[in-house]
């Protein structure tokens, strides 16, 4: 295992220590339970946005804590959902009295842990709602299964909802906005190499020099299919077409109902992309790919969108939701409206995203 680490079991903690030392103007870190939060939290009257998930996806989520984005992030062990006590402690730390939104990626672990946290928080009088992000079109089935994973759209939802919270949106509006971002975002990724979980010490899977994995997630897990290595144009075509041609996606998700004070099943449907739609095109690095290669992906993606009558009006290219040192990339296309554009453009100051 080739990594810049000390002991594998200290990796997450030491990385957070380095982050805290480097960005003391933006974040503070609490250990046991572990969470990262804005130095200026709680902000009275502002809705607090909290996310969290396994570590190994840097800069997500801890790198997105700061003005204009998250109020707190809960990092778990590498690729392992954090625990309810972390989420609860984070909520208490940043609660400004206007309620809290948990942005949760749709993985059994994350969903269950955040559900437990939500249940406990509410018994303690903290107002918490949750929105699931499930945008990975590589996952085909929807009903009666875990459904689609939460990937690239998470980053965009955190930015857009963070800006909305900063602008004084109330919890109800932010929840609706977050749901809308999720319903309009779709992603898919590929890997040229596996990654190595520090505690495991060897790659999760192995690929020969001429193979790649299509439809991977962000946990170093193998994808939907293993195929022969292709040119970047062909790969981009695959990812883009899977996203663009994705049929309306219907599924049932569980959200907390404030009136009924219990979990309710909500049916949600992603509309398909349409000619004329304005898009945010997000080309994401899985970790080990040079940014120069991401530009090759973007080059082809821009051409495909133009051919299909889709208009890219914003873009984001770089390492934002990664799988340790995995080589590969993912594409996310988010259909934008005026409100989302204004919120996307709003200032943000975090370790991982800043303008």
């Amino acid at each position: 295992m080739k990594k810049l680490i000390n002991k594998p079991e200290d990796f997450v903690r030491e990385s957070l220590e380095g982050m805290a030392a480097a960005h003391s103007d933006i974040i503070k870190v609490n250990y046991d339970p572990t969470f990262v939060y804005r130095t200026d939290a709680p902000i009275q009257g502002k809705v607090a946005i909290i996310s969290g998930g396994g570590s190994g996806h840097d800069p997500m989520h801890a790198g997105f804590v700061g003005k204009g984005m998250l109020d707190a992030a809960c990092p778990g062990e590498v690729f392992t959902s954090p625990t309810p006590d972390q989420m609860l402690a984070a909520a208490k730390q940043v609660d400004g009295g206007a309620g809290i939104l948990y942005i949760v990626k749709n993985y059994s672990g994350d969903v269950m842990n955040f559900e437990m946290a939500t249940e406990i928080a509410r018994t303690e009088g903290i107002r918490v709602l949750n929105i699931l992000i499930d945008d990975d079109v590589a996952v085909k089935d929807s009903l009666y299964t875990q459904g689609r994973r939460g990937v690239g759209t998470t980053v965009l939802a955190e930015k857009i909802c963070g800006a909305a919270a900063e602008q004084g949106y109330d919890l109800g509006r932010i929840v609706d906005l977050c749901r809308r971002v999720n319903l309009n975002g779709r992603s898919m990724g590929i890997a040229l190499s596996s990654c190595t979980v520090p505690a495991k010490g060897s790659p999760t899977f192995t690929l020969s020099e001429s193979e790649m994995e299509i439809g991977i997630g962000i946990h170093g897990e193998p994808g939907r299919e293993r195929i022969s290595l292709e040119s970047v144009d062909r790969i981009t075509e695959r990812l883009a077409q899977s996203i663009i041609n994705d049929a309306p996606y219907r599924r049932i998700v569980r959200e907390w109902d404030e009136d009924q004070q219990e979990w309710v099943d909500v049916e949600l449907i992603n509309p398909s992309l349409q000619k004329g739609d304005r898009l945010l095109a997000f080309v994401n690095n899985m970790g080990g790919t040079p940014v120069s290669e991401l530009y090759l992906v973007y080059r082809k993606l821009a051409k495909i969108c133009e051919q299909q009558g889709l208009q890219i009006v914003r873009n984001l290219i770089g390492s934002y939701i990664t799988s340790l040192e995995m080589q590969g990339c993912s594409i996310t296309l988010l259909k934008l409206d005026d409100e989302m554009i204004q919120l996307w453009d709003a200032p943000v100051k975090t370790a991982g995203l800043r303008w």
Partner: protein, 212 residues
């Protein structure tokens, strides 16, 4: 009867079993998941049994509740809430007890299973730990209903668990990370089902030890 001492021994035996199978469980998870199940379980159960010395004087319900709380706050992932909920629900039905009858044990396991089902919403055949826990609890219940003797009933349960575990191999995963793999999930044994099998096997071995 199963006494408190045996429950403590079981928890210890399971933790040892997890430690021994840490790499194995992680490798199973590498194939259809994210290569952390053994690591997660090992971290959580080691922390849990480290708490046991503080509660040896308390009843079985409190012991299991302590285990549950530690699992919930230290495993994370899918197995954290699931094993955490299993022990939490199990603890409530044996609250106040220092020894368990066959019926108590059945109710305890049933409550744990119900908790897992409610938390994870998985069904039989989804290729999860439910595919081991559920047939085992059914078999145990039937055997207990017939002759009320714990050890042979638990042997029946283990046989069912083992069969359930084998059955996960051809299954198409519908819950958990393996579900993302679609058809590629077929042909591989489920890691969580494997750890659940080890949990029941440790219980049987603990019970057998006493009778020896």
């Amino acid at each position: 009867m199963v006494d408190k001492e045996q429950i403590l021994q079981w928890l210890q035996a399971f933790t040892t079993e997890i430690e021994k199978n840490k790499e194995y469980l992680t490798e199973l998870d590498a194939v259809i998941g994210d290569a952390d199940h053994g690591i997660n379980m090992d971290r959580g159960f080691k922390k849990a049994i480290a708490q046991l010395p503080n509660v040896t004087e308390q009843d079985i319900g409190n012991i299991l509740k302590t285990v549950s709380m530690t699992l919930i706050s230290s495993i994370g992932g899918a197995s954290g809430p699931l094993y955490g909920t299993f022990f939490l629900r199990a603890s409530t039905v044996v609250a106040g007890k220092s020894e368990l009858t066959a019926q108590d044990l059945l109710e305890m396991l049933q409550a744990g299973l119900d908790g897992v089902l409610q938390r994870g919403k998985a069904q039989l055949g989804d290729k999860t730990m439910v595919d081991v826990l559920s047939p085992a609890v059914v078999a145990f219940g039937q055997a207990v209903g017939t002759n009320k003797v714990i050890l042979p009933a638990m042997q029946q349960a283990i046989a069912a668990a083992q069969e359930g575990l084998q059955n996960t191999i051809p299954m198409l995963a519908k819950k958990g990370r393996a579900s993302y793999l679609g058809e590629r999930s077929m042909g591989h044994q489920d890691p969580g089902a494997t750890s659940s099998y080890l949990m029941l096997k440790s219980l049987l071995e603990t019970l057998e030890n006493k009778t020896q």
